[in-house]
């Protein structure tokens, strides 16, 4: 296959970037999208041009590193697929493909296609955990978890933290990411004691960095793990409930 790429190049966070046209000739349809980038990078280096920087690691769709906006779609055209699992057979010979980094205020560009997603870590550190110091746990089977709850928690916990939801959102909101974490812990019995404090802390941190959700639903479409937007409804319900619960838990003092 012969393809025409337009790839975003930007040397550093404060530089003005621009698209660079790169011909990708002789690409095999069996290659993954990132393997095509490996081939292009080898050729660029041979021509004395710097390789395109992009985040990637496991190449199995689980680490959440890869993050390319391909023809305006986060992770490209295939539903439920991270960039690393997208294969060139999904494109046609002669296609022009535009590749950009995630674009969101909360994810500043570091270089080329690499962005800084550490705002996600900030959300998790304010509440994305169950306090359970090592050694304090009782026997695992003493906590009964209905299969339905475990399955629902797992559906939410499948989030790989790639940021496609934010990149796809016209507002740059991180509602789906936050909702997935809040729901994963909030539907499990172990997560109940901190449930309402968690949702408030995580939402408040999220709002420091990210835009607001106005129910576009683009996040669900872009999610490589197909995490359901229903979790945002769970998040909102818990957030509203928390306004009352936290007060009553604190003896109406707030």
């Amino acid at each position: 296959m012969d393809l025409k790429l337009r790839v975003w190049r930007q040397v550093g966070p404060s530089d003005t970037g621009a698209f660079e046209a790169i011909d990708a000739t002789g690409i095999s349809p069996e290659m993954s999208f990132l393997e095509m980038f490996d081939v292009i990078n080898d050729r660029l280096v041979a021509e004395g041009r710097e390789a395109i920087a992009f985040d990637h690691d496991c190449r199995e769709g689980i680490c959440g590193s890869c993050s390319m906006m391909i023809n305006g779609r986060a992770h490209g055209p295939e539903v439920g697929t991270a960039t690393c699992q997208l294969h060139m057979r999904k494109f046609r010979d002669g296609d022009e493909i535009t590749v950009e980094p995630w674009r969101a205020r909360a994810f500043p560009i570091i270089r080329d296609l690499v962005v800084d997603r550490s705002a996600f870590d900030r959300i998790v550190e304010t509440g994305g955990f169950i306090t359970a110091p090592t050694g304090s746990a009782r026997d695992a089977n003493e906590i009964l978890v209905p299969k339905e709850a475990a399955d629902l928690a797992m559906d939410a916990a499948a989030c790989i933290g790639c940021g496609a939801c934010v990149a796809a959102c016209p507002n740059g909101a991180a509602q789906l990411f936050t909702a997935a974490k809040v729901s994963h812990l909030g539907v499990l019995p172990q997560g109940q004691p901190e449930r309402y404090a968690r949702v408030v802390n995580m939402v408040e941190t999220m709002e420091q960095y990210f835009g607001s959700c106005t129910n576009h639903g683009e996040c669900e479409k872009a999610c490589p793990k197909e995490i359901s937007i229903d979790f945002i409804a769970l998040l909102n319900r818990d957030y509203v409930k928390a306004q009352f619960k936290n007060r009553s838990l604190a003896g109406q003092k707030r």
Partner: protein, 640 residues
């Protein structure tokens, strides 16, 4: 010079060693823990769980990871599950059985004391993970579910769909981030350790390169903990993530830490076969698929028919035939060699005849597609994306691929290397899996080391250091180490040769796979040992790293890692040549039974080979730690 190796295995009956040891070690009182500073490198299961737990205990912890977030570490890709001797299935499991299975599975090349402790702790790990909210698979009654894994005849593997590693890592990561928020752990992402610094023979700190700014800085502490993963990528193609590397371990080795059993590399039987030269990595399909999948090849040589055209009578279910007791669930090394045997004999399947079938058809008929989808849905999807074939209709094609490193830095029972104050955890150490790791045991070991072993043993080293300060970072030992790192960066940037870093990495991978892969011989190893230094020389003369070292420069990062692989690969082959026996993942063609099984030589090789660095290109010095077996009866492994 290094004296005799003391593994410090506690005396006494095996059931009591760990408890007795925990009583015997020196403690640091809670109020004094703040006075100690510990560096942890790596944020996978071992690193994240260690940093979180040390932080909970009250130590001051600084964590470094080259990832953008701790959650990306490659533990996340582990699929199938984690073993624990809970005996929830009532099928005869016990701590002793998990211990026995693991020592036997490792082909009698692991320490009994370490493995017994691992089996004991397995039980606590599951409790801990459930308390953290890890969404393990459940029965309808709300109790935990289990599946079976290779090398065992009981069901003791706990799992979260095909994403167990992800869920366990997210658990450890959440505990870690909690400690970050509390101020007990300082997190440094996108920071790569490029040297270990020692002072008076003790670990004093590390030198780190900030991958965004290129800044090279020193960090000192009372103790340094490496949890930096395995070296499988020395083969270029492996199931490891692209950035997985040996650099931290190798640079510690060059500063005096012994490297143990590097030739013990695990070739995992169920990976998607290689399709083309541009391939950048190999993808694992969880071993758990062997629960419900039957492995077969056409009985006829070079049978070109599509699988549905081959009648039952013309199929060879070779694992079931050769190993009727364990069938498709033989350990990984055995399954891998059997598959290689069939492919080498010309019965391989697929466009390149380089695979064997893993067929889910019988299980789909027996349980229905829904059940199979629930068990393996995400794996099957992954397979379909990569190959464009539907495993619900066509049997999957699999072939062995480099997966896990049993070898690693030498550590004693406390997980401390021979360099005082340097601890090594998880895949980066050598300690628990002998010559072959059983499935679902890597997650167990990473978490045992991080949640339980290190937090209980590190105080023994720290307690006498009360009141001392870490070596200041302006001490000449740090300055010298920084200068060395600067020099290497400059050298890589200024070589300005004609070949990319990947070019050399691929060549190294070919040398190792062809000569030190699933089958090794004196001849092939001698060839590799002469080819690798030549390639290393070529690398330093002809590598091309472009750009600037003061910005994000992924070519420069890779170049440093490949430079280390080019040195380490030679040691791997030297170790393989020294070990004149076959055991587990190390298969020497000269040493096999009449049936082609691995043939050990217990009289001469029942030892840990720990190598001391003597300069690049110089022969390393071998130190032997004899292995003693008081409980497990040494025998030719049989899974028939």
């Amino acid at each position: 010079m290094i004296g005799s190796l003391d593994a410090k295995i506690p005396a006494g009956p095996i059931e009591q060693k760990w408890d007795q040891h925990k009583f015997d070690v020196k403690l640091v009182n809670p109020a004094n823990k703040r006075r100690y500073h510990i560096i942890v490198v790596g944020s996978g299961l071992a690193g994240a769980s260690a940093a979180a737990t040390l932080g909970e205990l009250g130590y001051r912890v600084t964590l470094f990871t080259f990832h953008d977030s701790p959650r990306r570490a490659h533990s996340i890709a582990a699929q199938g599950g984690i073993n624990a001797a809970k005996n929830y299935r009532n099928d005869g499991d016990s701590v002793y059985r998990l211990f026995y299975d693991t020592v036997k599975g490792g082909d009698y090349r692991a320490r009994e004391g370490n493995v017994y402790r691992l089996a004991q702790l397995s039980v606590d790990i599951i409790d801990q993970c459930v308390a953290q909210g890890v969404p393990f698979a459940r029965e309808y009654g709300g109790l935990l579910d289990n599946r079976s894994f290779g090398g065992a005849q009981v069901s003791r593997t706990f799992y979260a769909r095909g994403q167990t590693g992800q869920q366990l890592l997210l658990g450890a990561y959440s505990a870690l981030m909690h400690q970050v928020q509390l101020g007990n752990v300082e997190l440094n992402p996108r920071s790569e350790m490029l040297d270990l610094v020692t002072h008076d023979g003790r670990a004093a700190g590390i030198v780190v390169r900030n991958l965004i700014t290129g800044a090279i800085t020193s960090h000192s502490a009372h103790a340094v903990v490496l949890a930096t993963g395995g070296y499988g990528n020395v083969f270029y193609l492996s199931t490891n993530a692209k950035a997985s590397n040996v650099t931290a371990a190798w640079r510690a080795h060059k500063k005096g830490a012994l490297f143990a059993n590097p030739c013990y590399t695990q070739i995992h039987p169920t990976c998607i076969p290689r399709s083309d030269d541009f391939q950048s990595k190999l993808t694992l399909m969880s071993e758990s698929l062997r629960n419900d999948g039957r492995v077969w090849v056409p009985a006829k040589m070079a049978d070109g028919r599509s699988p549905d055209q081959i009648p039952e009578s013309e199929r060879d279910y070779f694992l079931e035939r050769r190993y009727p007791t364990f069938g498709n669930l033989v350990p990984r090394d055995v399954a891998s060699r059997a598959a290689k045997h069939e492919v080498d004999a010309g019965r391989g399947v697929g466009p390149k005849q380089n695979g064997v079938y893993l067929d889910l058809a019988d299980s789909i008929e027996r349980f229905g597609k829904d059940v199979i989808e629930e068990r393996y849905g995400n794996l099957i999807e992954m397979y379909e994306r990569i190959t464009d074939e539907d495993p619900y209709k066509v049997p999957m094609r699999i072939y062995p691929a480099v997966h896990y490193a049993m070898g690693g830095l030498w550590v004693d029972y406390n997980l401390m290397s021979n360099v005082p104050g340097l601890y090594v955890l998880g895949e980066a150490n050598f300690s628990d899996h002998g010559a072959n790791r059983l499935g679902a045991s890597a997650l167990m070991q990473g978490l045992a080391d991080g949640y339980y072993v290190l937090p209980a043993t590190i105080s023994d080293y720290l307690a006498p250091l009360l009141g001392t300060q870490p070596v200041p970072v302006d001490d000449p030992v740090f300055r010298d180490a920084e200068a060395g790192v600067h020099d290497q960066v400059r050298r890589l940037m200024s070589t300005n040769g004609s070949q990319s870093v990947d070019h050399f990495h691929r060549q190294l991978g070919d040398i190792l796979w062809d000569n030190c892969g699933m089958a090794r011989s004196r001849e092939s190893l001698e060839k590799a040992i002469s080819d690798i230094p030549a390639l290393r020389e070529e690398f330093w003369a002809d590598v091309r790293v472009l750009g600037d070292h003061e910005t994000l420069n992924q070519s420069l990062e890779k170049a440093g890692r490949v430079a280390d692989f080019l040195e380490f690969g030679e040691l791997l082959c030297i170790d393989a040549l020294n070990r004149e026996e076959s055991c587990g993942g190390h298969f020497r063609l000269e040493h096999q039974t009449d049936e082609g099984e691995a043939l050990r030589d217990d009289d001469n090789f029942s030892y840990v080979a720990a190598w001391e660095f003597d300069g690049v290109g110089n022969a390393p010095t071998l130190h032997k730690e004899p292995l003693e077996f008081e409980y497990v009866h040494l025998a030719q492994r049989s899974y028939k």
